[in-house]
Amino acid sequence: MNRILWLWGILFGLWLLLSYHFEWLFLVFGTATCTVAVLVAARMGIVDRESVPLHLVRRGALYVPWLVWEILKSNVRVAGIILSPRLRVDPSIVHFRASQRTDLGRFIYANSITLTPGTVTTGIVADDLEVHAIVREEVDGSEENDMNRRVAALEGEGA
Amino acid sequence: MFAVTAAALLVAMCLAMCRALLGPTAYDRVLALNNIGTKTVVLIAVLGFLNGRPDFLDLALAYALINFIGTIAVLKYIEYGDLGAGGGTSRDRAGG
């Protein structure tokens, strides 16, 4: 129930930012809109810890800048590979063990891996992540371990 | 400078279109199409600034949405041969 109210609040806040009309008519429309959206989500049974991850917000604010910096670094690296005259690719599939406890944690870890070019998550079975890497040597596991540790820390103790 | 960016976007879209036309497997084509969709979203945003009327951004958002759902739908159709299949990867594969 608490999560449903939070979801409603988040949606209404986004509505106000998008709309930026504060006449009563639009406030009524916004209220109705967010109520419909939350009702449909609640009837589908998709409002839970996974879809409204309130417990991640504070630690997530520290994780995102780090992720952006990683994305920047790996982008430069992959651009170097593509632009070099003879393509120095040595693709291979490697496996990582994800130490997150919930599906949401694995979702964040898998998407972080995919977002950094040079590595793409190709499959998740329980806590085993299958990752396709464009250059085998560069995925020695150190950076992925770092990311794994950070996402597990992001997930926190409560999970 | 917006014109330069828009030109770069168009060049990149042409290259991706080559891949969509050549692509040996269906997945190459889906990947290229998804990529062209992303570039179209950015192009809509840039064109709004180029015209001095940046109120197309709702359209960019809607396009990004349709692009994402379209990609997922095409992949599901290729993989399962059935858009409405429920859970059960292996069971559905065995049935189809």
Binding site: L7, W15, T33, A41, R43, L104 | D55, L65, I72, G84
Partner: protein
């Protein structure tokens, strides 16, 4: 695709926002590009995404096919009904000025009238889109 962790969690997070965005596009049709048609398509897309991830049966439990067919007809009824109401109030068919509560500001009537007519378009487009998707996705299901 329910077992696929990434797609399932992503869809769960996105769907409420898509529905909110669809109705936002509808209600701000006169301030930014958009309106009933686009809103109907985006709203239908939310349910298509749910059906792709959770399967047709799960979505049809929430949004049964008879309801989407009813929506398709109801939208036309709303559209035509607005026109008939304005005629009953002594104006032309779809003469929106009749809807203004305050006769000194006829533009309010325009606003309300267009919103109501667009609501009809939204409901019809939503109903037809979801019905078409149900028919396509369920094709071959009955035979097997």
């Amino acid at each position: 695709m329910r077992e696929e962790v990434v797609v399932r969690v992503g869809a769960k997070i996105l769907v409420p926002f898509i529905i909110m965005f669809a109705l936002y596009v509808h209600f701000h049709g006169d301030y930014s590009p958009g309106g009933g048609f686009q809103a109907g398509v985006i709203l239908a897309a939310a349910f298509v995404l749910l059906a792709l991830v959770y399967g047709l049966e799960a979505v049809q439990r929430v949004l049964p096919p008879w309801f989407t067919r009813m929506c398709a007809a109801l939208g036309v009824l709303i559209f035509a009904g607005v026109g008939v109401v304005t005629m009953l109030l002594g104006h032309n068919y779809l003469g929106y000025n009749a809807l203004a509560p305050d006769p000194t500001h006829p533009e309010h009537g325009q606003h309300y009238g267009i919103l109501l007519v667009e609501l009809g378009v939204l409901v019809t487009v939503f109903g037809v889109m979801v019905t078409v998707f149900y028919l396509f996705a369920g094709r071959g299901r009955e035979n097997s």
